[in-house]
């Protein structure tokens, strides 16, 4: 499959993520959109990594693998982020009985 397909897919995912973050008020949905953006980036990394590997496999056995390793790091970070983020959302719900992110402006006062 040509690399373009991966690029367009991840672009679409990323755009969906951004628009979701911008227009939705539900904290969990916003959160999921962020995850979508992260995974769009991951997809791209894996795709390019595979592409480089195919091109240079003859000369270098490990070519392009660092992109895939990077993806693992992102996943780990994302997992940590999810736990913190969900905890925040839980705490928020306990306090204001809502997970509408616009209620977070109370921090300002």
């Amino acid at each position: 499959m040509p690399i373009n397909y991966y690029i367009f897919l991840s672009l679409a995912l990323f755009a969906i993520g951004i628009v979701g973050v911008l227009i939705r008020r539900n904290a969990i949905i916003v959160f999921m959109c962020i995850e979508i953006m992260l995974n769009a980036a991951n997809l791209l990394l894996v795709a390019f990594s595979k592409m480089h590997h195919l091109q240079q496999a003859a000369t270098q056995a490990s070519a392009g693998t660092d992109g895939q390793i990077f993806v693992f790091f992102i996943m780990v970070v994302a997992a940590a982020e999810v736990s913190v983020g969900l905890a925040i959302i839980v705490m928020m719900f306990r306090n204001v009985h809502s997970i509408d992110i616009n209620f977070l402006n109370r921090l300002k006062h």
């Binding site: 951004i18 973050v21 911008l22 992110i101 616009n102 977070l104 402006n105 300002k108 006062h109």
Partner: protein, 628 residues
């Protein structure tokens, strides 16, 4: 001898210690103790001065170099004190007369509170210290320290009664006028450094060849500007009469022993430079003579006993400068000495009168004090005779020497100077007759209060009267006594003697007789005029003189007013509008800007994310265009 003189630092050290002790512990020390320390710390240097004087008389001078004071590049200024004929003589005058004035002050100021009494004596000691430093400094920098010191002390002492606004103004005036003069001194100093690379008297005066003739003229003129400030010559003389605001002993100290003689000392010290600058010498002679006449005419019509004496000081200083200007440096110094005696005497006697009159200084309200205050009267009479120049009193010898020097130089100078001497006799005896003769014109209460001053004040008067009488015998002219002019001989290591006789003995004799006879006639005329007091409204020239030639008003109009108006302009436009505008504007801008920027922080998470996305897009776009 060299080793012995290494301890001359003790001379300025004692008054400095006195200043510190009395000044710092003025609340603890009793008045008696203050008086003892204050006087003692002037007596000790006086005794040392006598010792130094004897050593110097027996041979040579000495420069005691203590430590490196300033060292910048090739310029090295050491803290060095110099002892030679000139400074030894001045030390004697300064410490001797100051000591007598200190003793007098212990009685005169005894009604002050303990604290102010201490303050007074600490200032007085600091004054003596500065003056000693001035005359002992072995280079221009040390001299300048003393020079500034006496300026400061005069300010402190003139404004001693600091609660009175007028007195504070007088103190400010003295300080500002001195500063104007000091600027001249300072520029001359820089000029000397840039040309000679050294400030020590030894170097500068022995290497006069490094200066071009225009350099010398400018340096000497600038130094003279300094001298006009300190020694109250035209145009900077008006501070001295106003300096009467201080207590009377302070006036005596400023006018007789310290401060005003500084200019004369400085020029006499720099005679090696001045004798190479004939243009400056002529200017000094003319300014000195003009000051002498101007001040004498003003003194004719003053009614404040201290004001008359103040203008007479200005006038006598004019004579000293005349002597310096015609090249008779030792004569100028001689007049400094005799003047120190009789002017200190006159001021202290005036203080005694003021004391008896309960603070009254107007001679129109005095009269007939002769009977009540015999000692004061007699000593004041001695002072008057001495200042008028009647033989064999001290003033005669010094004034006559000046007149003779003027005669040798230029007959017109002589004629004018003689006229001034007659004016001197006239106003002094007017003062004497108005204050002491006739009948009492004050209030009943004052008449009841009249009394002779206590011994603490009369004894200094008597000592000074003796000095005023006998002080001239060190400078008897050759024609009256062979080898009588000991002073010139003593000063000859510092001030070279020109032994050329320009005037024949018979002429010299004739000049003496003429001046003496004329002075006597003037005194008789003054007696005739003022033995009875008539109150007359001054008009015409009299009013002009009474108002001091309107010089103060002139300065006020020509200098002070424009400066004040310019300052007001700066205050109004530059300060208020421009500088305040900038300062406040910056504040207002930050305030306004932050109020606008604050709106960004809305607390809406959506806004933040939108802004983040937009700015990321912006960065990408910029990146895209900058890539190539």
């Amino acid at each position: 001898m060299q080793n012995v003189l290494q301890i001359v630092w003790l001379v300025p050290f004692f008054p400095l210690i006195g200043f510190l002790i009395v000044g710092l512990f003025r609340k603890q020390l009793s008045k008696t103790l203050t008086a003892i320390i204050g006087c003692g710390m002037v007596l000790l240097p006086f005794l040392l001065s006598i010792w130094i004087f004897i050593l110097v008389k027996n041979g040579g001078g000495y420069v005691a170099d203590y430590f490196n004071f300033i060292s910048a590049g090739s310029l090295k200024v050491s803290f060095a004190l110099q002892v030679d004929a000139l400074s030894a003589l001045f030390l004697l005058i300064v410490t001797g007369v100051s000591f007598i004035i200190h003793v007098y002050s212990t009685t005169y100021m005894k009604e002050e509170t303990k604290e102010h009494y201490g303050r007074f004596f600490s200032y007085m000691n600091l004054f003596v210290f500065s003056m000693i430093l001035l005359v002992m400094g072995a280079n221009f920098i040390i001299m300048f320290i003393g020079w500034e010191g006496v300026g400061l002390c005069s300010y402190l002492l003139i404004g001693y009664w600091f609660k009175n606004k007028e007195y504070n103004k007088a103190a400010d005036k003295a300080f500002i006028f001195n500063r104007i003069g000091d600027l001249g001194f300072l520029i001359a100093l820089f000029w000397i450094i840039s040309k000679a690379g050294s400030v020590s008297f030894e170097d500068v005066f022995s290497k006069t060849s490094v200066f071009s003739s225009s350099d010398i003229t400018i340096i000497t003129l600038l130094l003279f500007v300094g001298a006009t400030g300190k020694s109250a010559q035209i145009p900077l003389y008006t501070w001295l009469p106003d300096a009467m605001a201080g207590p009377t002993p302070v006036s005596a100290l400023i006018h007789a022993a310290t401060m005003v003689t500084a200019g004369v000392y400085m020029i006499a010290r720099s005679n090696a430079l001045y004798s190479l600058a004939p243009v400056t010498e002529n200017i000094i002679a003319i300014v000195g003579l003009a000051t002498a006449i101007l001040a004498a005419t003003i003194a004719l019509k003053q009614n404040d006993i201290k004001k008359v004496l103040a203008y007479s000081t200005v006038s006598q200083l004019g004579y000293m400068f005349l002597a310096l200007g015609v090249g008779a440096y030792s004569t100028g110094v001689f007049h400094v000495m005799t003047h120190a005696f009789f002017k200190a005497l006159l001021f202290l006697a005036a203080g005694s009168v003021i004391h008896a009159m309960g603070g009254e200084q107007d001679i129109r309200k005095m009269g007939g004090l002769k009977g009540k205050m015999k000692i004061t009267y007699l000593t004041f009479l001695f002072g008057c005779i001495a200042i008028s120049g009647i033989p064999p009193f001290s003033g005669f010898f010094s004034k006559d020497a000046i007149l003779l020097a003027a005669f040798e130089h230029n007959k017109i100078l002589y004629a004018i100077a003689l006229f001034g001497a007659l004016l001197t006799a006239f106003y002094m005896f007017r003062l004497l007759f108005l204050a002491f003769n006739g009948s009492f014109r004050g209030t009943e209460e004052q008449q009841h209060h009249l009394h002779e001053s206590p011994a603490g004040m009369t004894i200094p008067l008597i000592i000074l009267a003796i000095l005023a009488f006998a002080g001239g015998f060190v400078g008897i002219p050759e024609i009256l006594m062979k080898g009588g002019d000991k002073l010139t001989e003593f000063l000859s290591p510092v001030i070279p003697v020109h032994s050329v006789e320009l005037v024949s003995h018979s002429t010299e004799m004739m000049l003496m007789v003429i001046s003496t006879v004329l002075v006597l006639l003037v005194i008789v005329f003054a007696w005739y005029r003022f033995r009875k007091y008539h109150s007359v409204e001054e008009k015409g020239i009299g009013k002009f003189l009474e108002n001091k030639w309107y010089v103060d008003e002139l300065y006020e109009k020509v200098i002070a007013n424009p400066v004040n108006r310019f300052a007001a302009f700066l205050n109004k436009f530059i300060e208020k509008s421009l500088i305040d505008g900038i300062v406040n504007g910056v504040g207002r801008l930050v305030n306004y800007g932050s109020r606008q920027v604050r709106l960004l922080q809305s607390g809406q998470v959506g806004n933040y994310v939108l802004l983040m996305v937009l700015s990321m897009l912006l960065i990408f776009v910029i990146q895209f265009f900058l890539r190539k």
